[in-house]
């Protein structure tokens, strides 16, 4: 039963697996992992990491089901949204990398070591990166080498270095290379000046050369390495990651709200009030804000204690959104990098290992403010396809309609022929009314825009 409900990505580690029962996720700890699990809990490491908010809390449960391998069943605290490394902005990736290294340092103090360091095991939970895989620890055997060193460099260091030193969009390479960006590829893509950074020189450039020359060699005799070299290695990785920096560009979108001309200050405040009123009326359990920019409107539900996923396709916007959320300790807001016109697909073994964006985001309410004109006029999507899409992903919809006469819509049309004869308020309401009931309709004073609250039929 538990094997049957095993989660698609949970097959690599013989220590246990994750399964779902009645919509709740559990993790089986196998007998194979008994010693390590007992040490993790008995040594105080688990408690220390949970207190430091570095490891996801769990409780042991009895589901009345066992198989021959079962040692324990644990129920981890639910994570609101599972995001993947290629959906993180630079600082999210950097914070996740530094958290992983802090976990490894702490584990060493307690006689354990991270046996793997997959970026997929780190998740944003209450605004901070935490390790969700309780079975990632092995007993430290005294060797001064880190088994997960290669994985850390490929999953964290290589994408961070490429984002900081070359182009922030190269984070998307992690989507193709599921086990992290190959170091020889990272080394060849990084600019020559990155060799002057001794951390990158060692952990990316020379490391990739060593991999090329030594891969597949059989290693014979026992040797533990120089005392302190493992901690020195982790220190060196920490210092290398800390020094990597990227500043968001002032892209069109990241400067949108302070500079944009469609709203006067008064109209913007009125729009905020309307959104707040509609969210309260929707009585929603969570919100997915699509095209959230830097999260100005996402902060309305999140400040009301409603878990909010704030999605944008511009890395600068997501970076600014995350830095703001981090600075203000916003636990209910999760900024994510994704393009709704090309959402993250499912990848990996049988296309089930890493779920698509739409499979993971199960919103109660979708907020689509100033988005429809981009989908319809910018991406040529007919209104009926847009309405049908929203009806499949949410129960409640807060949506803004921007007519062609609006200056932003005009900008979209300035370089293309106006073939969008059906794009008007009447057709918009007609198409959406096929799937939704219009519960509220509010015009934004001083603009040509209208905001609706719609409820699924």
């Amino acid at each position: 039963m538990m094997e049957k409900n095993r989660v698609g990505s949970s097959f690599r580690d013989p220590s246990g697996f994750v399964f779902a029962k009645d919509g709740v996720l559990y993790r089986q700890v196998n007998r194979f992992y008994k010693n390590e699990y007992d040490h993790l809990l008995g040594s105080g490491l688990y408690e220390r990491l949970v207190e430091s908010k570095l490891l996801l809390k769990h409780s042991e449960v009895d589901l009345g089901q066992k198989n021959k391998d079962t040692y324990k069943i644990i129920q981890p605290e639910p994570v609101e949204f599972i995001s993947y490394p290629y959906e993180w902005c630079f600082s999210q990736m950097k914070d996740a990398a530094l958290a992983a290294l802090r976990i490894q340092k702490t584990a060493l103090d307690y006689g354990m070591s991270l046996k793997d360091c997959s970026a997929y095991n780190m998740q944003l939970h209450h605004g901070r990166p935490v390790l969700i895989d309780t079975l990632s620890f092995s007993l430290h055997d005294g060797r001064e080498q880190w088994t997960a060193y290669r994985q850390f460099c490929q999953h964290f260091l290589a994408p961070l270095a490429l984002m900081a030193e070359k182009d922030v969009r190269l984070s998307q390479l992690s989507r193709i290379f599921m086990d992290g960006i190959p170091l020889d590829l990272a080394s060849s893509l990084l600019p020559y000046k990155s060799r002057l950074n001794h951390g990158l020189l060692l952990h990316v450039h020379l490391h990739s050369k060593a991999q090329r020359h030594l891969s597949g060699r059989k290693i014979k005799a026992e040797k533990t390495g120089r005392l302190g070299s493992l901690r020195g290695l982790v220190d060196s990785l920490e210092s290398t990651v800390t020094k990597l920096r990227w500043s968001p560009d002032r892209t069109l979108w990241s400067g949108y709200y302070p500079l944009q001309s469609n709203y006067s200050n008064k109209s913007l405040e009125v729009k905020k009030e309307i959104v707040k009123k509609l969210i309260a009326k929707a009585r929603t359990s969570n919100v997915l804000d699509l095209g959230s920019n830097t999260g100005l409107f996402s902060r309305i539900p999140s400040s009301m204690g409603i878990p909010t996923l704030s999605v944008d396709s511009d890395p600068s916007c997501v970076e600014l959104n995350y830095l703001h959320a981090k600075e203000c300790g916003e636990e209910y807001l999760t900024p994510v990098l994704a393009d709704i016109q090309n959402p993250t697909p499912s990848i990996g073994w049988e296309n089930k290992e890493r779920a698509s964006f739409l499979e993971r985001a199960r919103p109660d309410t979708v907020m689509a403010l100033a988005l429809v004109h981009h989908l319809a006029l910018g991406n040529n999507l007919p209104l009926d396809m847009i309405a049908s899409f929203f009806s499949r992903i949410c129960k409640k919809l807060i949506i803004e309609f921007i007519p062609k006469e609006d200056s932003n819509a005009q900008r979209l049309l300035s370089s293309k022929a106006d073939i969008f004869h059906g794009y008007n308020l009447k057709n918009f309401e007609e198409e959406f009314s096929k799937y939704f009931t219009i519960a509220s309709k509010e015009e934004i004073p001083g603009t040509l825009r209208t905001i609706y609250l719609m409820l699924i039929k």
Partner: protein, 62 residues
């Protein structure tokens, strides 16, 4: 040419990592041993420096 030979010689002399379910990469493990002395030295310097700072520095550290 000399460098790969040295790395190869070292590869022959070192240990196999514990039975990890992920491939640590032989090259990555040997590389850690190669540069391990450097990391060990850096770590030793850091710990000694912290110790000296703790014992000699007259002002209380925050």
């Amino acid at each position: 040419m000399r460098k790969p030979l040295m790395l190869l010689a070292l590869a022959q002399a070192l240990s196999t990592p514990a039975s990890a379910y992920i491939d640590p990469g032989t090259g990555s493990i040997i590389f850690q041993v190669l540069v391990g002395g450097f990391f060990a030295f850096a770590y030793l310097l850091k710990t000694k420096f912290n110790l000296i700072k703790k014992n000699i520095w007259p002002f209380k550290q925050r």
